[in-house]
Subunit: 331 residues, 4 copies
């Protein structure tokens, strides 16, 4: 029997996609998709590319439909109280915001401000399925990673796990869906076409998240990180440079990656550089690693920022939490 | 000595371009560029592609700097009162809005609502330089045509002047700069890339303007018109179909066009279909005409919608009003 | 049991998509995908967005694998001999080229030159599923319509069937996938971005195909047709103007459309203008019709030019020929 | 009196732009623009965005028109013999190829193969005007730098000159005009839209050029370099990470940049991240530098790859060689 799922915040890019994936999922039933500003509209009228036949409603926590799980696609900070309310009602929650990703309270407060549900701080399992699969099967609250950490950590994990990472530098690029629907001038087509630029050069809050996870894997490397916006819709590339803690050949490094990801359904280790079109509208992560002439590693990971970087990974986590096949509804 | 010019409403796409053209113009001095919402910002910070070294200020009609002329780039309806105030002070005005384009008051009210300066209604000279050059030299108030009428009327004028137009159908396309800076979801890069669509299918207010001008030229043809938005920034194409009032060969039609536009500095009659890149960031209008197998005319006109379709044409008009060379600052 | 299918010419945009759709189709088995120039390569290496795990091979007509049906994606003119050879071996054929679309030999020769299999000329059923469903169920050779005729005829069929069409003018636009993989300068990204243009203004060979079909439906209207290339990959819009043979209200016209397409699985009549993103990578055709103020019809049809305009429609036809559900593998 | 200039190889993206800049240049006369494959065509027919009224001719070294200088826009390897022949005739040469950039013969041969004019090897002055201005004034043969070295070296020069560079990592992105006109599948609009990818991950020949110049400036730092292609036409961004040889504050680093580039006409040090639209179709280089939390430098440089990264810089060099104002024809 299908599990009943609610998607809260379904009018934005990631929430709408989450609703659509749940709609198409053979093991899930989309019971409700909510939105404050767009209640009353059909999902497909907001996002013509989607087909889910559902009308958005307001979320009423006092009169929730009966559901097994919820995916929450609220802005950072706003998510925590709703997540807490849903958890109080015994509902499994996959949160797409940053509110439960960081394990250090001070770091959270520095980058995001006061937490909206202090009692639950740190209660989430970090939803990078490839790293925390066992914990996710038991989880009741999952913090889906940010898109940049997803790509960056998957690009570097096989080295981090061996303690091989020295210094790490990540230059990442992303399409405009990562900027959210609440558009400003910057993502007006007239400004974005034939344009590209770095942003958040003085510090992006995904950096501490990347460091947290590389440290957890065994490589407490300081990370330098800068993101760029490029003129495309969906797609993200992490280009990672790293010095090696000990000299390792390109072949040995490739061997580590091949072995580490051999059984992963969504992570594919390529034998050449990845491209964003290949992963568009998929839950895949394409990884390529090489050691260049100067002995430094270059590791690349390409994902769709709203699929594997948000909603697709969210459903991957939900599959694990609900005991479904991890890939169900995602291939 | 340079003429002193004010640009009112310089934060939007057309106003900013007007300010930049005036800035670069050897015969004009940009005395002030005003904006309500963005006063205090530098033009180049709002529009990084422009280089005019000027800070936007608020327009204060009681303390106007001394200027010879003003270009007003306000929204339709909002322009008229400011235009009237500037005219009262003896300032020559080029208005980029629709407020002084239509000569029939009822038509104006149907499409735009109450007029903001009823006493001045109809007082503007229609600023399609190629049609009204003599009047423009004497004008004190000029209504710069809409972008679609500019392209459509230039595409059809040689036939209209000969009374040769039968039925007219215009399918036009335009880039997102035509949609203005006040973005909605529609022009978010993520929605516009890989997309295109017709809009205002139940009636676009540029249709009566096209009919007005074709009628003035001698062909009171009913016009069917529909615009499309396509994924580019600057550029507009009018694809015009027309039946001929009397059978005319392709060669004869081409001869009419060649003759009509032989001395026009900005209208170039091509011997093959135009393309938008060729006119991008120029004040040119590229026209191509043919008579297809079924005996109907196909006439195409390509312009840059914010240059020849707005601000470039505005300065072309200003040149005429001020007794400067028509092409000054525009080549 | 799955039907065995061969795709001939699988390296181009339409052939590769046909192979991918067959690969994903629950009722079909992709036995071989052939290519002259790219034999030995994997499909996914040529087109990274596809996932079919198949290596392209050369087509050897003397050593064909056992197959029930073939989709032929060869250039016009080149398709006919291979189609004939496949038919001789009793294989059902869906041809994506123009070789079997036209029913008048003289017209064919004028636009395409000498036919490559004269004995089979006219033997194909025109594969616009919505018009020829019954014939398609019995067909052994199907000529899949051109992309522009698909959109244009679906946009106008409800009127044509009632004999209501007067004069017809079609302005269509299409993305660069319609230009084929054998690129010339024109479709280099640097030339196409921020560009758009009409082409084949002196006559496009899809016009006689549109006229053939409107005539067959009961409206022998002369058609004026011009296509445009716009800066996107997949997508096509037909903007059709028509005078009405007798005055008909917008409501009555809409009623005709609603009724005509009520049961069509892929044709959706919208209550507002269509957009290309909504049909991207689908087999849908979105139609909108209105009667504008001058009493003329404007009818729009949006399709994905390589799906409903080529390979998707090809599989829709194949489903009918093989007795499968018409929508199988296409939703 | 104007200096007479020949552009050899004017059909490609950089050669055509060089011809256009010379055409518009008040101090230069475009005497001839040559092309092997496109002789007989007008420049504007090949590149509709340009307006130079010149027909391409074949280069005949035995019957050269009288010229003072030549800009050679040939492929790497093919340029050297023509450069040598022009130099023999006493003509000043600005070469846009790589043939005279490298000062180490072995390095040249490793990356480019046998040199086409061994006697002239190393005879060129490296045409990064900001570094070699004095030498360029005396030069008879100038090797215009590659686009990536232009951006990367300008981004890092103020630190390199102080010996402050530790380890250097450069992630650069570029539009498709950098890929040249001889298109392959990769730059077909259908493949490039909504796509982006790293390339030459196993070693790009611009790396030794960057190392050569940083070493010459005083920082013999090993450089790790990887370029990306992104979906735009003209524009290039170098994102440079560097460790500092000694700890230096962000303010001190910014001071170095401000001072170093204070008098440069084309290099602008910004107080925030650069964007590619701001430098499109200009000879400017926009630089931004910061020191991030981990104490590493991030330095960004944005240029137009065919202007400051090729033809614009070529004319900047030519101005210096001819004793003209360095900025003439380039503002």
């Amino acid at each position: 029997m299908s599990k009943r799922v609610l998607v809260a915040g379904a009018s934005g890019f990631t929430g709408a996609l989450a609703a659509q994936i749940v709609w198409d999922h053979p093991g899930l039933e989309l019971v409700a998709a909510t939105s404050r500003g767009d209640a009353g509209k059909r999902l497909t009228d907001l996002h013509s590319r989607y087909r889910a036949e559902i009308e958005l409603t307001e979320l009423d926590l006092e009169n929730l439909p009966e559901v097994d799980a919820a995916i929450v696609a609220y802005p950072h900070g706003a998510a925590a109280p709703t997540v807490a309310a849903l958890r109080e009602r015994g509902i499994l929650v996959v949160d797409l915001s940053a509110d439960f990703r960081l394990r250090d309270r001070e770091t959270y407060e520095r980058w995001y401000g006061q937490h909206g549900a202090p009692d639950l701080f740190g209660a989430g399992v970090y939803g990078l399925s490839e790293l925390y699969r066992d914990e996710l099967r038991e989880a009741t609250l999952v913090a889906t990673p940010g898109c940049y950490p997803t790509a960056s950590v998957l690009a570097l994990a096989p080295l981090a796990e061996q303690g091989l990472l020295g210094e790490v530098f990540v230059s990442a690029m992303q399409g405009t869906s990562g900027y959210g629907r609440s558009s400003d001038d910057l993502v007006h087509f007239s400004n974005m076409t034939e344009n590209a630029f770095p942003y958040k050069t003085e510090g992006h809050r995904h950096r501490p998240e990347i460091e947290q996870e590389l440290t957890a894997l065994g490589s407490p490397a300081p990370v330098t990180f800068v993101p760029h916006l490029v003129p495309l819709d969906q797609g993200e590339l992490a280009t990672c440079f790293a010095t090696l803690a000990e000299a390792t050949s390109a072949d040995a490094v490739r061997g580590l990656y091949a072995e580490r990801y051999a059984d992963e359904p969504f992570v594919h280790v390529l034998d050449g550089p990845p491209n964003l079109r290949a992963v568009r509208a998929t839950n895949e992560c394409h990884v390529y690693v090489t050691v260049e002439e100067r002995g430094r590693v270059m590791a690349f990971a390409a994902i769709d920022n709203i699929w594997k970087g948000a909603s697709g990974q969210g459903v991957q986590n939900l599959n694990l939490m609900l005991g479904l096949d991890e890939t169900e509804g995602l291939l």
